[in-house]
């Protein structure tokens, strides 16, 4: 007979879980494994609220295995390290992102691309190497193989740095892969939410000209004055969209809802590249003609490997890049999720787990 979440592992754990597609989260008792030789036990201090958490809590992608404890932008302190762990010691500030396991043997794993391993174990809603379900960072502690634990840089704020563990790497990785690091090139960032606002900051740090592309003008002043974007384009303004046609080398499309690609593709120069990192629950329509006559590219990208994630954290620390956050208490998570669904956040909620998660 299957064990209950509380009885599966030796160490009691506590968090908040969604139990059905309403997505409503509530207190949840479960358990974590013994800290093995390769493991690091992390006391969780902060956890960012990623849109993926909302998609999963509500089963919008169709593969949620309830109950689910979301959360994959985790920052905390190491409280125990296994015998083979040399990278970390007790007391170190650490981060855990979107993955907690992979096969370690396949070609992607050998190339530091654990995120593309066909047997990747995600931080939540996934089946671990031991056959049990993984539970995420809306909880008091987590036990993770050292390979999937990040060193959290000293000069990054713990709370505002948490979203980098998913949002940060999600935009950093394609920016490196597609060569969006050449100073002077023009990057469009479609969507100004958790991912978008970090993309603007990282883009500016790479020396790019950055234009934010949005469906409404309400974020314009902030984009320019606070985030440092060079310009702001509202997609419903036909004259401005026409003037911007064929001006961008790259676009990072962070929009999490279904949206038309044609207007974005028209903004690209010939040979331009649009990389989509959002995951709407339905497919998009792909206009072929503009791709063919412009040799344009639409590519996807999914977080990044562990080595690159560490590189990204160090890069952000060097350039003083962290997320703009709204810190919330654990018990306010459901309200936060409702607001997130309406994009009513500047620009990431982060749960103050350390100070507000109590049984």
């Amino acid at each position: 007979m299957a064990k209950s979440p509380e009885g599966e592992h030796p160490h009691k754990a506590f968090g908040w879980a969604a139990r059905d597609p309403s997505g409503a989260l509530s207190p949840f008792h479960f358990s974590r494994r013994e800290n093995g030789d390769e493991d690091v036990t992390v006391k969780i201090l902060y956890c960012g609220v990623c849109h993926s958490d909302l998609h999963t809590a509500k089963n919008e992608w169709g593969f949620t295995n309830y109950p689910v404890v979301p959360g994959h932008e985790i920052v905390g302190v190491a409280t125990k390290v296994g015998n083979n762990v040399e990278k970390f010691k007790v007391g170190d500030k650490v981060g855990v992102g979107v993955l907690v396991g992979s096969c370690k043997r396949c070609e992607p794993c050998q190339q530091d691309l654990e995120n593309y391993c066909p047997k990747v174990t995600l931080t939540y809603n996934s089946i671990g190497q031991d056959g049990t379900k993984t539970y995420g960072g809306y909880s008091d502690m987590i036990v993770v193989d050292q390979r999937y634990v990040l060193r959290f840089p000293d000069n990054l704020p713990l709370d505002a740095g948490a979203p980098l563990l998913c949002a940060g790497i999600t935009v950093y990785s394609p920016m490196k892969y597609y060569g969006m690091t050449e100073a002077g090139k023009h990057l469009g960032v479609a969507g100004l939410g958790g991912l978008g606002h970090v993309a603007v900051k990282i883009g500016k740090a790479f020396g790019l000209k950055v234009t934010v592309i949005s469906s409404s003008s309400k974020k314009e002043s902030e984009a320019i004055n606070k985030l440092g974007a060079d310009s702001f384009l509202v997609t419903s303004d036909p004259a401005k969209m026409k003037a911007a046609m064929g001006t961008m080398d790259f676009i990072i499309d962070t929009i999490s809802a279904v949206h038309p690609l044609l207007p974005l593709l028209s903004l690209l120069k010939m040979n331009g590249k649009l990389v989509t990192v959002g995951l709407p629950d339905k497919p998009l329509e792909l206009p072929i003609f503009p791709l063919v006559v412009g040799r344009k590219l639409v590519g996807g990208s999914d977080i990044g490997g562990m080595k690159e994630t560490q590189e990204m954290l160090d890069f952000c620390a060097k350039h003083n890049i962290a997320a703009d956050i709204e810190l919330i208490r654990m018990e306010d998570i459901n309200t936060a999720m409702e607001r997130l669904a309406k994009s009513d956040v500047r620009y990431r909620f982060v749960i103050d787990v350390g100070n507000s998660l109590s049984q």
Binding site: M270, V277, P290, V292, V293, V298
Partner: protein, 362 residues
Amino acid sequence: MAKLPEEEHPVKAFGWATRDQSGHLSPFNFSRRETGEEDVKFKVLYCGICHTDLHFIKNDFGLSIYPMVPGHEIVGEVTEVGSKVTKVKVGDRVGMGGIYGACGSCENCDNDYVAYCPKLIETYNGIDHDGTRTYGGYSDFMVANENFIVRVPDNIPLDAAAPLLCAGITVWSPLKYFGLGEPGKHIGIVGLGGLGHVAVRLAKALGSKVTVISTSPSKKNEALGHLGADSFLVSRDQDEMRAAMGTMDGIIDTVSAAHPISPLIDLLKTNGKLVIVGAPEKPPELPLFPLLLGRKAVIGSCGGGIKEMQEMIDFAAKHNITADIEVIPMDYVSTALERLEKGDVRYRFVIDIGNTLAATKP
């Protein structure tokens, strides 16, 4: 008042044109410019019929201007060269594809990406620098700047080489640009028509392992036996497609009819590229999970540069690669277009302009 096509330019020309979307072509008198100091004038011997000709004749893209003389897979013999021309001389065999002119100074022109110059002038249905319309290769001769002409090597049959000027370069360019045509790479070719069959030959000669992906099992023997592909996948066979998932570095999709691309994306390895060179009208669905979870990309490609075209045709001549063609007389063209629409050709019609056009003059 606008001049008649016959009067626009000083040199009389003759060809076949369509005057509307019906797909019916007929004899047409027009004119071409004098041979300028950088120009090459060549008599047209053969012209391939590209599926794009059909699209433009029927105004599928909404861009057609009538009367239209189609044809951009043109081969012939030089009859006159301007004083500054160094590339070719009178008597040389030459070819010309879909590019008649470009700005010459943008980033794309500088890098031999001339197909993507924003000021590109097409060989037909384009607007020339002087504001007049361009007329294509279903005609007796062409006049073009030497920068847009390629030499056709002596050892390649002219008629079977004609389709290389569009079909050939269209598949060659992405094979090279995206690193898909090289030893160690496994690529899929979707569709076995004018583009597809040339793609198989070129890719094999470049050293890639080639799998043909088709809706019709009947093309299997041809793909493996005659064209030399390594394997054949029937796209409607779910078991075959599943077994091939995650095995291809790239796919060149030549199919011009609407079709789903989701199963093709699944065939790609991580970092794999689906390059689309056909132009289906209806946008397919783009599934995001498979795209993201393998860092895959969908890219369009259209023609290629002129240096690239010369490199391709020299390579084809060296490896004895030409198209499989059905040579037709000029007055068969409307029937050929009807058959092309139904995919009833192995694999390209080529009009024998040199021997059959003149006889159709009224």
